[in-house]
Structure formats: C-alpha cells, structure tokens
Symmetry: C2
C-alpha cells in the first residue's frame, strides 16, 4: 500500500485508476471499455491495472459498488428525514440534479448494467444496508396528512425518479428531437427542471395553488 519511492513517487496510482475507471466505465459501459482505455485515461501502463486489481471484473465491481453506495443513501435519506413533505421533494430533486450534472452518464450506465446483470445488485444492497420500508411507511403517512388517500407511495417515487432521471437517460435523443440539438438550450431546460418537477408534484398532490417550498421565482 505505502511503497517507499525515490524515483517515482506516486502512491496515489490507485486513486488515479479508480477515477479513470469510473469515468471510462460510465462513458463506454462495462463491455465497451477496454483496460487499455482506462490505463490511457489514468496515464499509466496497462498492466498496472492488473497489479492493483487482479482483473477487469474485480476493477469493475469496485467501481460499481462505490457508485451505488454513493447514490443509494442519497435517495433514501432524502425521504427518511423529518422535514415537511414538499421540502423532501425539493431536496431530493436538487440533490439529484447536482449529482447528475457531474455524472450525466450515471443513470444509463447503472440501469444498463443492472438490467444485464441483476445478480450484482443483491450483494450491493446488503453492503449499503438501505431500509426502504421505513421511508415508504413515512411517505404513506405524510401523503394522507396532505389529503391524498389510498395511493401507493411507490407511484410517487416512480414518478419522481422518472421525471428526474429521464432528461439524462434520454438526453441524446430528447435534445436532438425536441431542442434541435441545441446544447445550451437543453442545459437551461435541465436547470429549469429543479423548479418544474417539484411544482408538478406539488400541484398533483395538493390540487391547484402554490404549496410549500415554492417561493423563489415567478409563479
């Protein structure tokens, strides 16, 4: 781990590898990314990858687990807090907007990988230790106190995740078709969604009018 190094003092090689691997895997996918690609991105020799992580699979597992361990808690915790409902929604949307802005390829990458290899999930879920039941129960209660009765909260979650993730998952297609491939316009659109998505949810749940957590810009 800590090698004495007079001539080539970079014990942070491992860090560079992880960083490069994350980037390359997300952009090209597990199969599309070659070890050479990752080595190039990290600026090191290819065989070093095998020295630090025995093979491609192990390297990938490390990256994948790391990414999901970072994403899952954010998701659940946003709903596990004791803030008012619409406040949770707003926090959730903004947290993900920031996360996705920095990792735009993350959703496609994750879902493609899980879809291809669902077994990988089991281990990771254990490793992270999320408890969605708790958050779900809380949601149900809060929705009822908002006057929404008999609605499975998982519909809300699915709606929310869909609305937040779609602009990233379908970006290449959506930007080209609905924005004439205007990147700047699309980025403005992404920014707008931080406001539009919570408002949409709010209106759907509360009926018309402005709910809490909507006081910044124009109506």
């Amino acid at each position: 781990m800590q090698p004495e190094k007079l001539e080539n003092l970079e014990p942070d090689t491992e860090r560079k590898i992880l960083e490069a691997a994350g980037k390359v895997f997300m952009q090209k996918g597990r199969l599309g990314a070659s070890m050479q690609d990752i080595a190039d991105e990290a600026g090191i020799n290819r065989t070093l990858l095998h020295y630090y992580f025995r093979n491609k699979e192990k390297l990938f597992d490390t990256i994948f687990t790391k990414l999901l361990s970072q994403v899952f808690p954010t998701m659940v915790e946003a709903f596990a807090s004791d803030r008012p409902f619409m406040e949770k929604i707003r926090i959730f949307v903004e947290t993900y907007a920031d996360l996705l802005k920095e990792n735009p390829y993350l959703p496609v990458f994750v879902f493609q990988e899980i879809s291809l290899n669902p077994d990988r999930l089991a281990g990771i879920i254990k490793h992270v230790g999320v408890d969605p039941d708790l958050a779900l129960k809380g949601l149900t209660k809060e929705m009822e106190s908002l006057g929404v009765h008999g609605m499975d909260p998982r519909h809300i979650i699915a709606n929310l995740l869909g609305m937040v993730l779609f602009p990233y998952i379908g970006r290449a297609l959506f930007q080209k078709i609905a924005f004439q491939d205007d990147t700047e316009a699309y980025e403005k659109f992404l920014e707008d969604r931080k406001e539009q998505v919570p408002r949409f949810v709010n209106m759907a749940l509360q009926g018309s009018g402005q709910g809490p957590g909507q006081s910044r810009k124009h109506p």
Copy 2:
C-alpha cells in the same frame, strides 16, 4: 411449425434471423450479443448471418432502425391527433404500456445505444421523418386552453416519458428494493400505472378534482 422437411426448405430464414437478433440485441446489448448467440436463438448456422447481412454492424443497424421506426411514430402521433388533451395523455400511456409489456428491455437498450453512439440517430430521424415542432406547438395551445400558462410543453413530455419509462428502465432495481423482488406485485404495479400516470398528470395540470378520462375506479 411446418414439419414438411425434405432437405431444408426455409426461405423465411431472414425473418427468423431478424426476430432472433431483435430479441438477443435487446437483452444483451450490441456489445454483449455475439453472432453465435443470435444464430443459436434463430436455430441456424452462424455463417448464415453473414450471408443474409454482411456483418454484425449491418445486422444491428437493420434491427435498430426497425425498432425506432416503430416507436417514434407512436410517440409523435399520439400527440398530433386532434383529440382532447387528457385523451391524448391516456392514449399515449396505454399505447406505451402495451408496447413495453411486450418489449421490456427496449428502453434501456435504446437509450444505452444512443448514449454510446449518438450519430446513429441522425440517419434514423431522417428516415422516419418526425416533426416534433408541430406536436409541440399544438401542445402549447392546448395547455393554455386548459389554463396552464407559460409552461414549456417539453416539461410535460419529459415528465410523461419519465413516468412511463422509469418502471421499465429501473425495473431490476426498483422491484428488488421497493417490492422485495416480488414479480407479481410489480406487474400489478405496472398495470396500475396505466391509471395512475394520467391521473397524476391531470391533477397537476387541472388542479384538484377529476378531469376527463378518469372514470373507472375509486376517486
């Protein structure tokens, strides 16, 4: 099917190939699928694939174009009709629900592929000849007549597509975390969304109360 078999008379080999290739490509992705996989699925010899379609790339392009040509029009036409707004929403949701039920891997596959290789899109869009501007203009007008002012209709589209597609894109993950991996419960959930999504949109756009196209079950 046809037990008639003197030597090997099957000129519908091409059809079998296309069917098999579509299935295998969707399930394993372009890179994950090998020509051998496709040949096996079609029940033919591997070199026959090269006889009918020169190489893997050409075979893939055929499949991909075919799939998108089937999906795009459905999407745009649902909004280009002159039915009332909520009717369009309902039709859109149900059409996609049916399509996705039969091709659950389609969204991940398409978005992954486009994300990896955006260039492929340009040709296909031309080939299909969609005109989203028209549908967008119409949407804006209809929303205003519903009392929704100053809202970019593309937010509605993104919300709708996200809500419809997410349960399929994130199925492996969502079913495991929020449904304890209960497949039957999840399929019930998918069925429910045909009703829940239009209602959610309706409430968001009209405020509270029941809009059109919502008369089947409990309030």
